[in-house]
Amino acid sequence: MLRATIVAAACAASMAAHAQQRPIAADALRSGIAYAGADIRAMQADDLANPGFLWVQRGEALFNENCTACHRDAASMRGVAARYPAYDPSAKSVLDLEGRIEQCRTGRQHKPAFGRESDDLVSLATFVTHQSRGLPMSVSIDGPARASFERGEAFYTQRHGQMNLACTHCHDQSYGKRLYTETISQGHGTAFPAYRLEWQGQGSLQRRLRACLFGVRAEMPKPGAPELTDLELYLAWRANGLPIESPGVRR
């Protein structure tokens, strides 16, 4: 009887936390690396071969130079990336990790912004995200983040561009199938910032999302645009539970 009560209480708690229906059930979630070829998987699995670590290394130097006065050491950053994008009371909006670093830089350190997709910002974001490697994504969509989440979900399910495709058509309905030479993934951002062979370098999730929009011949929001942050929050929620991989390697 006691056990039944505990189970019922646990169910109620989990119902409240997952009131929103997930498009892909938690036990069916697969990282993008599961759909990558053997060579890419090997490159990501070997930290010495993974070129993303060049950005981790630069990010570490930048962190030690700019951030340790407040944030003490790298270990204090463990778990941070798993919670982003998150609502920020001082910005009165949801910020992704890159946005949060820029806010710290301009608002608290009174230094000029690094700039979206600048090598410095990508390096710092990679280093900070890397501290959470292996931890499950666990963003919150409750309270003030809710409106942003809903906008992100609407963007995800709405058709875009001349191809007239929504994200959901590929990444919920067709993952595992082939698109030219590529296998369609479930569209999780847990590897990012990641090294893409196509870019010959490291880039953010927003850059990847813009590339996807370019692919369906849609208008691309500018780097740092709120639409992209909303979408990042929706994607992060959709991937809640998947471990962070950054720096991942992708084609």
């Binding site: 010495l48 071969a49 070129p51 670590f53 060049l54 290394q57 630069r58 130097a61 062979l197 010959q200 370098g201």
Partner: protein, 105 residues
């Protein structure tokens, strides 16, 4: 900062050990144009050398066919403890050197 170098913490005398070198470099091919149609000048790492206590033990000539952030793996044999000295130069004339100590157990 511009490269990642990995060698075993300790190596065995007269037995080959693996050296891994990853250089941070765009390896711009010279075949691309920018958004205004202007050619982007070629800038690749042309030559990489590795010396052991001054003696040349490895050298490579790279070209525009090599991807960005070249990753080189090769084997070296040491008779005594010493230092690996890496040097590479690109088309822009930037010359970078790095060192890594080798401890023979």
């Amino acid at each position: 900062m511009e490269a990642r170098i990995n060698i075993p913490a300790k190596v065995v005398r007269n037995e080959p050990f693996e050296v891994r070198l990853q250089i941070r470099h765009p390896m711009e091919t010279g075949y691309r144009t920018d958004d205004t149609g202007k050619a982007i000048a070629r800038n690749v790492v042309r030559s990489v050398t590795c010396r052991y206590n001054g003696d040349l033990v490895f050298a490579a000539q790279l070209s525009s066919g090599i991807a960005a952030n070249p990753y080189l793996r090769f084997f070296v044999t040491a008779r005594a403890s010493g230092e690996l000295q890496f040097e590479w130069v690109d088309d822009a004339g930037v010359r970078i050197s790095e060192r890594a100590p080798v401890v023979v157990a």
